[in-house]
Structures are given as C-alpha cells and as structure tokens.
Symmetry: C2
C-alpha cells in the first residue's frame, strides 16, 4: 500500500484524489491546503504524526506555490513530487528526495476524466524513488512515461499549442459564427472529427485546406472577409507556415 | 422518393452515396464522373434518359470543377446544387434552378462518418426548391441549416480556423515531441479533451494557459525553447491575441 499526502485542493488534486479512491494499492492519508503548516508537522514529528507519514507528498499546487510549499516540507523523509509541466525537478529543495509526477491532461471539476488514459510523466533522482513513482503511476494509469525535466518543459510547450492555441482557434471560429448570426454549434462536428482524425492519421496526412492546396483565390477571399486585425494576422501567418512546411510557398 | 444524380467520385460523393443508401426516401439513380458528357444527356433527352431524369443533380466536385460541370447541365430541368463551402450559388449557370447543399464536415474515405450528425447547409433561390433541398437534407441528417451564400463563405472561413489551423497546431506539437524524442501519442488524450471540453463550455470559458493567465515567465521560457522561426512567430502572435482578447495585455 502506497500512502500519499496530497497538498493543494485544486483541479489536479480533485481528479487525482478520485483516481486514488478507485485504486486498491494507494491510500490518501490526507489532503492539505498549500497554506497549512506542513513545516511544523514534519519538523517536529511526534508519535501521532510519525505513524501518519506518507510515502509521497504530491504537491498539486500552482507553479507559483511550489517553492513555498516544498520549502515547508524540507525536513521530511518522504519523497516530495510536484505535478507541474513547466517546472524543473531542481526547483524542489535539495534536502529532500525529489521527483515529478506530471499528468499531461487538462482538468476541470466540471467534467469527469478517465484517469487510466491520462499520460503520467514521472521523474526522480535515483532508481529507488523512480520505482516508487512508477508503482504509484501504473496503479493509476495505463500511460506511464519516464520524462526528464528537459523533455517535460518541451512537452508543456507542445501542450500549449495543441490545447491553449487550439482552443483559441475555436474562439476565432466562434467569433466568425457570431458575426454571421450562425450558432457556434454548427462547427462542433467538424471540430470533433479534426481531433479524431489524428487517432489514425499523422498531422501531415490529415492536413487539408486552401493553404495546403495552394488555393490562392480562396486565401485572398478569406483575408478580405476577416475584419479583426489579429484574426487576419493569424490567418496570414498560419497560411505562410503551412505553405512553407508543405512546399507550396507562394 | 427523391431521385438524385451525384456528379463527382471523390470523398463527398462517397460518403453522401453511403448515407443515401441507408435512406428509404432517396434514390441515387447514377454517380457520374465530372468529366462525363452530361451535356449530351440533358440536351438531347430521349425516352430512356427522360425517365431517368433526377430531381436533383448534386455536384460533389472540387471548387475548380463546379463551373465546367454545371455548364454541361445548363439545359436540365432538374435542380442543380453544388456542395462547396466557399463558392456562391450564383457561380452556377443562370439558366438552371440553382441551389447549394454544403455538408460542413471533413471527409476521407479511410474513416467512417455518422452522416446523421453532419450539419447540412442548404440554400436555394425559391421556396419550392428550398423545400426539395430541405426534404433531401432532413432525410440524411438531424442538423439542417438554411444558410445564405454570404454566411456560407464565412462558415467556410471559420472551418479553416477550427479544422486546418487546428491540425497545423497538432503538427507543431508533433514536431516538438519529435525534437524531444517523445512519441506524439503522449499528446493525444489532451488533444481529445480539448475538443470535448467545447461540448459543455464556450471557448472563452475553456481558455487556459500561460497567455490567459498572464504568466510572463513561462511565456518567455517557451519562446526561448522554440527553435523554428515560424513556430516562435505563431507562439508570439497567438499569445498577444489571447492577451488582447482577455485583457491581459503585457
């Protein structure tokens, strides 16, 4: 049985907690707010707190709170891991056994998630700790990857493109619909298929559209139709980049 | 029973044909190549061809082929519709009863599609023809919209953002993974959730990430990590635009 303490009460903590509940191999012994006095608890252990020491502290807190929360844990003998994509393992205090447990997914309390399918990116500084993290991870998900801090920041960057920027493309689509008095829902089947296509095709194979075809007449028509300056700039830049990638430079 | 002739043998023709097969109210009397001599057939009707006249000719051909194919049909008494998002109804010859039947979806022969969920955008020049198209459309899909040529070109433009440009974001994500020796599959659950989120949330509500949060440290770190000039430009422009939209201008 792996005993964990989760620090933080946000979306990651919520979904991680729910996933652990379903597992027979892991037990959450406590969920702490990042503002609670972790320091006292671990620096002055008594009979009660000693028996309640977790194997792993999971810091499911915002990037800004990692330093402070982990500093409070610097006297613990437990493994301390954060859950952030963009933060290096070395941000955690040198004094502790450090690790990273990064679930590569977007979480919100409003929607359920199948944690078995969440890619878990793990990192530790020695074999023993990596094994502990690996056991934790495979008990929760079928997608466990050993990922270095250097790789992880790149992964987090890639996630900005396929999540945040994709969502902003939806926003522009929604704006254009609104402008034409059409419901945004009309685009949803297309948007779903676009994501599904990638299950079987590479993005290269799946790329279609006027830029890919080198259809300059449609491109010009589209640029003329765009009234928002930023949307026009994004259309131009994306089109140029697609054409450069696929050898149809104008 | 609505009798249709489909002109064109590409992806739209294929999926449309399969959807019609399942319908009891529509019959495909022929599937013609856009290069076949439609002209002779409709300009010199004999007893055979007269009985085989369709109610609707559906031009499921590429944008470039619409003018030529429809010119060959200019003597027909049947309704002639094209299936293109970006082409006006007035591109079809004046002499015929004109219409548009635009399925707003991306088709490929490799993947099945539930046609009942494909939004069908219809347009015609008079009530009778619109009613015919409406009957055709509701026999095939639960999502039928009356959309003018002016609205339709905007919709096609919006589709470029949520389909073609989104797919290019996947391509950039894939490039970054490759560069870090990570499998692109690691991003797929995130990419799927990003599309699914939009079922219940507006793109405004779903927007997260460093740009939305105004997290300048992460933004700078990401820009430093990007080695491909175009990727860096896209990251900058998207970030600026998100910040302008959500009032976190730097």
């Amino acid at each position: 049985m792996i005993k964990v303490s989760i620090v933080g009460k946000g979306n990651v903590s919520y979904h991680l907690g729910k996933a652990i509940e379903k597992s027979k191999d892991i037990e959450v012994i406590e969920v702490l707010s990042s503002r609670e006095n972790l320091f006292t608890k671990v620096s002055e252990p008594n009979q009660d707190t000693l028996s309640a020491q977790p194997d792993i502290y999971i810091l499911a807190v915002s990037d800004n709170a990692i330093v402070e929360a982990s500093q409070r844990l610097r006297k613990t003998k437990s493994l301390v891991v954060h859950t952030s994509g963009g933060i290096s393992i070395t941000t955690l205090p040198k004094e502790v056994r450090r690790g990273v447990f990064y679930p590569l997914q977007t979480f919100s309390k409003k929607s359920e998630i199948d944690f078995k399918k969440v890619p878990l990116c793990i990192e530790a500084e020695n074999k023993t700790d990596l094994e502990i993290l690996h056991n934790l991870a495979i008990a929760l998900s079928n997608e466990v990857h050993e990922v270095s801090s250097k790789q992880r920041v790149k992964l987090h960057l890639a996630a900005v493109f396929v999540n945040n920027f994709v969502n902003y493309m939806y926003k522009i689509g929604s704006d254009i619909c609104q402008d034409s008095e059409l419901p945004f829902s009309i685009l949803k089947p297309l948007l779903t298929t676009t994501a599904q296509k990638i299950e079987n095709l590479s993005p290269e194979e799946a790329q279609t559209g006027p830029a890919r075809r080198g259809d300059t007449i449609t491109i010009k028509k589209h640029l003329d139709l765009l009234t928002v300056k930023e949307h026009k700039e994004i259309y131009s830049l994306m089109t140029q980049s697609i054409q450069k990638t696929y050898g149809k430079e104008l």
